[in-house]
């Protein structure tokens, strides 16, 4: 299948090194301590953060840091064909774990001993890159909840199809069977907290693809920071002196 045509245009009309349109909104779930909706093209997710709050299950309590829990779920209507997935299926369990570990790397858990933080992620529309979108949404929601973080985690995926590195794969490209790298980085500290790859890649190509994904992450981080700063300013001046 031809993923990049002769003019260098992808199936959805993007250039190989082009992100999909980003859209972030803070404060979408009124009951949560912090919440955000994040869109990357047609992928749309909602994140809600509850806590820091008292640990619900006493046996899980950690004396010197906070317990971080994460729940990822896909809405039944999120994909093209309506699949009935059980609540704890393998795929969502794995993604929950990955996101939890990624977020734990940036949350300063030692500041909130004996408490727990719940991150709930819901995919409303899946068009490839849900795990990246979820991480970005979770970052926004955590920042909204006022949870101290050492840096912003952003994530982006990149792939290698038709001998071209492609940024931010959509569903068709994702299921094209080519290699697919998902990278999560701490934006300012330049550290990698998440790196997943399906399929194999020669080393020199891998570096190209990874660099592309990191560039994508930086663009996303710039956008996220703008959104956060604007939101903070709005809250402050509405509150008044």
């Amino acid at each position: 299948m031809e993923f990049v045509n002769l003019q260098g245009i992808r199936l959805d009309g993007r250039r190989p090194k082009e992100l999909r349109q980003l859209c972030a909104e803070i404060g979408v779930v009124s009951k949560a301590d912090g919440s955000a909706a994040f869109e990357m093209g047609n992928t749309r997710v909602i994140a809600a953060v509850f806590g820091p709050r008292a640990v619900q299950n006493r046996s899980q309590k950690i004396a010197n840091r906070a317990l971080v829990r994460c729940e990822y779920s896909m809405a039944k209507f999120s994909t093209g064909d309506r699949v009935r997935r059980p609540k704890g299926d393998r795929r969502s369990m794995e993604i929950s774990l990955v996101i939890r570990q990624t977020m734990e790397a940036c949350i300063m858990t030692q500041l909130m001993p004996n408490s727990q933080i719940d991150i709930c992620l819901q995919v409303l529309q899946a068009d490839g890159g849900t795990r990246s979108a979820c991480i970005n949404a979770a970052t926004l929601a955590l920042a909204d909840a006022g949870i101290p973080m050492c840096d912003i985690v952003v994530s982006c995926s990149a792939g290698y199809l038709n001998t071209t590195p492609l940024l931010d794969l959509n569903y068709i490209e994702d299921s094209g069977g080519g290699p697919d790298v998902t990278v999560g980085i701490l934006a300012k500290m330049n550290k990698v907290t998440l790196l997943q790859m399906d399929n194999k890649l020669p080393f020199d190509t891998f570096e190209k693809v990874m660099q592309l994904a990191i560039d994508g992450c930086e663009a996303i981080s710039k956008y996220i920071r703008e959104v956060l700063l604007e939101n903070t300013k709005q809250l402050e001046y509405r509150r008044g002196l």
Partner: protein
């Protein structure tokens, strides 16, 4: 109804609390009674947090003109803010650098950390500088208690010698039996009988006002105290939940709004109590209370369960004004609340219509005018 009778019963006679407890879980009670008594306090906690509405919901319900009006009002607020504050709002987001002169020996406060000799924010908020201290004041976070804060909370558990309260903090707060004045007003050691009678003072789901006494450094729980007549159980009113950054710490958190016959408590934790006005007498020694009760006839002993209609209307009006202001994200001061209430009365807005979008937009415009006046007066 069943609840009030059983309440009276356990209060007037000295039944130890374990008997009333057994009484509650016997299966052959009426369904209604059972529902009441087994109501889970954790549920209440969920419900308390459900009240928040935000600007997003409001904006969806606006029509074109209202949207433009709200937009311009918010724009004006931004101008007032940037004019009034001496430095432009030093808003930072997570991991932004804070510019400091490191040679001055800067003290890093909350919401900051070190990275490669730079001071970096760890939360989104406003940079505040006090002498050498630099910290980031966060918005929209959970309540962060300080000693001496006046808070409103809800009892979720009665345990041995203490009540556990939900106060929108990351842990539950603890009110010890020994750190509150007993209703008889006597200063004495708390005995085991007092411990058994704890449910006659506060029960689960009661709303309480107290003061932050300090932290337990061992496990980080919060200790409260209620050593005055003005603290204690709050009855005949409603509790509202707002984001805690909207309530500023002031000298006065108890407000008696005389013209409406309403007491208002702006709890620092974002729980706000609006209730019927209660007179706090001087502490009456227990003997006189007892003798006066004996002298009273049966009718007089009945607690006055009736709140006049006007008071209730005033109460709801004030509560709705608070809801509107918190939806708009305005700081809740008594002046702002009263101004909104007065406007709603003078423009003949029904109480139930106060939550509609039209009044919200009007409230925003009123607040803008109030703030303009305030800044003019300062200059």
């Amino acid at each position: 109804m069943a609840r009030t009778i059983s309440d009276l019963f356990s209060k007037k006679t000295d039944i130890p609390f374990y008997i009333s407890y057994i009484h509650k879980i016997t299966p052959n009670q009426t369904l209604k009674q059972n529902n009441q008594s087994t109501l889970n306090p954790r549920r209440h906690r969920e419900r308390d947090h459900r009240e928040m509405r935000d600007l997003k919901d409001l904006q969806k319900s606006l029509n074109q003109t209202q949207r433009v009006r709200l937009q311009s009002a918010l724009q004006q607020l931004q101008e007032i803010y940037s004019r009034a504050s001496s430095s432009p709002a030093a808003a930072v987001s997570v991991s932004d650098c804070i510019h400091v002169n490191l040679e001055d020996g800067v003290l890093k406060g909350h919401g900051t950390t070190n990275r490669n000799d730079d001071v970096v924010a760890t939360v989104c908020g406003i940079v505040e500088r006090v002498n050498k201290l630099v910290y980031v004041r966060d918005l929209r976070a959970r309540y962060k208690p300080e000693v001496g804060d006046i808070i409103v909370g809800r009892v979720i558990e009665v345990v041995s010698k203490r009540w556990r309260l939900e106060i929108n903090y990351s842990h539950d707060a603890v009110l010890m039996l020994s750190s509150m004045n007993l209703p008889d007003g006597m200063q004495r050691r708390q005995t085991s009988t007092d411990e058994l009678n704890m449910r006659s003072i506060f029960e689960e789901n009661d709303v309480i006002c107290a003061e932050v006494r300090g932290f337990n450094h061992h496990d980080g729980t919060l200790q409260l105290q209620a050593r005055s007549q003005k603290y204690g159980k709050l009855e005949r009113g409603q509790m509202l939940t707002v984001p805690s950054y909207l309530v500023k710490r002031r000298k006065q958190h108890f407000h008696n709004l005389e013209q409406y016959g309403v007491d208002m408590i702006l709890g620092c934790n974002g729980f706000i109590w609006v209730g019927e006005h209660v007179e706090h007498g001087v502490d009456v020694p227990v003997e006189t209370v007892k003798s006066s009760i004996e002298n009273m006839s049966i009718e007089e002993q009945k607690p006055n369960n009736f709140t006049p209609l006007e008071t209730r209307q005033g109460l709801c009006r004030i509560a709705n004004a608070i809801r509107v202001l918190s939806t708009l994200g305005f700081a809740l001061s008594v002046e702002a609340i009263l101004k909104t209430v007065e406007w709603s009365i003078s423009s003949n807005v029904e109480i139930k219509d106060m939550l509609l979008s039209e009044f919200c937009v009007q409230a925003a415009e009123i607040e803008v005018q109030r703030r303009i006046l305030l800044t003019k007066r300062k200059n």
